[in-house]
Symmetry: C2
């Protein structure tokens, strides 16, 4: 999509500009300090000509990176200095927080002006985070067709295909010939910026098929579209969750797909570039959730970040006190044998690590749908076996080290036995907890870690201290 | 790509077949048990006709899912029963281990036969994991052009653009007209399965530009290609790492890109569907590495899995004994005050969690290049502040609970002070350790967790126990 667009914006790209342009990134992939200070100086001098020369040529994602590297006040100054030369698609490439800062600093009529230049999916991306009143005021200033289109997209729930779709597309009736279709595209000025397939619709806008552009180019002019079209087996309902839509794209290697409303009427097109963003986002979400952070962004402020992280720490506080109370059951035992206090974190920590390994594999397999009822039994058996084998290996190791350290091989035997028990518990917790959360409809990425480490801490401390209390008869 | 292909394979898709076909997945996204047992029975009966009816129509990814759901011996039976009706592209959709099992069970001449039907990128995907002798034997049975093409791809190192590229593409000289180009495509039978742009080359095969298909369709026949082509600013060197190539695709929203050799000659094309796989793989790698598991697959056997996980457990063993030796410095103190042994895991665990939060955000920001020299200072300050604020909040909470529990508010004050210290250490370790690893050229996802929890354990135990020893004068 962008290649075509960048070409439009730069009809006469001279080689030098390209060279300079490639140069904005340094070796480390970050924007060069020299380029940044150059832009900073131009902003400070309010040198609009210099800014236009350097910034108007940038690709939207490069401009986005530049905005992120600037200071907040520089960002707003750059946007207002560039005026209508500012490429608003760049705002789809920056952090939510930065986009909000920039958009909120602009008057609504300027946003309305800017939004008209954008593809509908980019316009929606910028509008959707604004307060409803601002959205209404901006939409009121748009021409009728555009207002209706954007309103329809915005009316679909967040994170659905309807929100992400582009409402500009090419659609022709099935009885047209390839020649007619090509002539139409040559004469029509209101085509989308770029497209890779043409949809085929009946008079009521109901979707009947699609043709890839290469198919059209290979076919003689008199052939009818209905003869070369294929059935659109993967039309996406507008209310489908974007993650589900991304899975359809991935499974069937689609480049674009028709989006249809509840009566199967074509309302838009979802393209692979938006889907790639969704895939990235979802992978990122899983990673962040497993690390105990939610929808946090690097540009969030201290208090926001702090607040977002507290719930998880709070839950951990509960499980930490639970472990502490397990230990306190054995305070008499520890008083008689302080070595137990020294060694007990080893049992818990090794169990925690083994469980995290199993849990990570399980959560990922659930996310990619690689784990299902056909292999769950086999995988559970495999994890239990791995837990036993690795438990045994490390039990022997730790037993020997602890035995030498405290010159007490009975103690070494006790810690070895506790290790085997905890590693088995770790393996089972690591797979069963995410599986059960998934079955119960919860997101295994978000809640597994806390339950899993709770199990390995409690089992680890209890197994080690109770075995020791029983063996040495210390209660 | 696939849409076009599936259409070719099924020129007359009747609606019933489509219905049945959509039906192979159940509500939970896994293959229906009824479908699976039906296929299982057909395999057992060696009922080739039934298999063809049910399997030949499946999309490559559906057939891949089916293969994964079958038992190993069923997979091989299915492939051999289907013979030349088996869609070999399905092998690009299954686990490495399963692909290896299936391919190794096939005679080399059958593989050679199958590989000829595939796009070059799929063929390379299947060939690259075979032993060199088998590769040579298979290549020797292919026609000259195909042998040369596949050999060239295989000669590029693993995980480069050259390995992933498709060597089939459409290229025309710049002086051709749009009309000539369309006529060429209508008459030429040896075009790739599907494509979304045409490359423009000089007589020595050097790349001079590209045209998107929609551009050609919008342009009148007499216009010269050089007038509508755009410069290919994002040509990918064949030796570029696939992850880097994926970043170029993502940054510039490309659908396909030319792959060039060291003298800028066009050798292939990289398409977004391959890149989506790379993006998925890389996101998965980060997640698995942070969880302490390497390139593990769900289909790996017990001993492989066990062996892959041992190194990380081994490193954790070292850090666990380090923490234990910190505790052992204070064995006299603990003997006098067992409450310390009960409470100390709380300090370490809360620090570990806070550090994991910071580390997760940092590792992800480094992977997506959102963290660079321009914001590192600001992010470090932000994390330290968050650490202090959350440290303070939980210090007060834990201090009060511990004070009531042991009826000792001096002890509550000690644990509160230790908490603040450890939460600050956690914040700094969580950001500085991944940053330093990244600067040193190591993968922060793989090694951060172990160093970070080492810091929070050691600092947590030491701060709490030494403060208590000093305050209560217990050495």
């Amino acid at each position: 999509m962008s290649e075509n667009m960048s070409e439009k914006q730069r009809p006469e790209t001279d080689p030098e500009a390209v060279e300079e342009h490639r140069d904005i990134y340094g070796e480390d992939g970050a924007i060069r300090a020299s380029f940044l200070s150059h832009i900073g100086a131009a902003i400070a001098d309010r040198d609009v000509l210099a800014l236009r020369a350097d910034v108007a040529d940038l690709h939207q994602s490069e401009l986005g990176d530049l905005l992120e590297a600037l200071l907040p006040e520089q960002r707003q100054a750059l946007v207002s200095l560039m005026g209508s030369d500012f490429d608003f698609t760049a705002l789809t490439e920056v952090d939510d927080t930065i986009r909000a800062q920039i958009v909120e600093s602009m008057p609504n009529d300027q946003i309305a002006q800017a939004v008209q230049e954008l593809d509908s999916d980019d316009a929606v991306y910028i509008l959707e985070d604004l307060p409803i009143e601002d959205q209404d005021e901006i939409l009121a200033q748009l021409p009728f067709t555009e207002r209706v289109r954007l309103r329809r997209s915005l009316d679909y729930p967040e994170e659905t295909a309807g929100r992400r779709m582009q409402t500009e597309f090419v659609a022709v009736p099935p009885f047209w010939t390839v020649g007619q279709t090509i002539d139409y595209m040559r004469d029509e000025n209101e085509l989308p910026e770029s497209f890779s397939q043409i949809f085929v619709i009946d008079p009521t806008f109901r979707l009947v098929g699609a043709v890839n552009l290469d198919r059209i180019l290979r076919t003689k002019r008199p052939v009818k579209i209905e003869e070369v079209m294929h059935e659109t087996r993967h039309a996406i309902p507008a209310t489908m969750d974007q993650e589900e839509a991304a899975q359809v794209f991935e499974q069937y290697d689609l480049l674009s797909a028709a989006v249809v409303d509840e009566s199967e009427r074509l309302v838009g097109v979802l393209t692979i570039d938006d889907v790639v963003d969704v895939i990235q986002q979802e992978a990122e979400e899983d990673l962040l959730r497993m690390g105990g952070v939610g929808d946090e962004e690097l540009s969030d402020r201290v208090l926001t970040t702090s607040r977002l992280r507290i719930p998880w720490l709070f839950v951990n506080l509960g499980t930490a006190f639970l472990s502490a109370s397990v230990i306190s059951l054995f305070d008499g035992t520890i008083e008689h044998m302080v070595a137990l206090a020294v060694l007990m974190p080893i049992v818990a920590s090794m169990g925690g690590n083994a469980a995290t390994q199993t849990m990570t594999v399980t959560v990922r397999a659930l996310a990619t749908r690689d784990l299902d009822i056909y292999n769950a039994g086999r995988i559970i058996r495999r994890e239990a076996s791995v837990g036993f084998i690795n438990g045994f290996i490390f039990a022997v190791l730790i037993g020997i080290i602890a035995g030498f350290w405290f010159s007490d091989f009975q103690l070494g035997g006790i810690i070895a036995a506790a290790m085997i028990i905890n590693m088995m518990a770790a393996a089972l917790a690591g797979i069963l907890i995410p599986l059960c959360l998934d079955k119960a409809g919860a997101d295994p990425a978000i809640a597994s870690a806390v339950f899993v480490t709770m199990v390995t801490d409690v089992v680890g401390f209890f197994a080690f201290l109770s075995l020791a209390a029983w063996w040495f008869n210390l209660w």
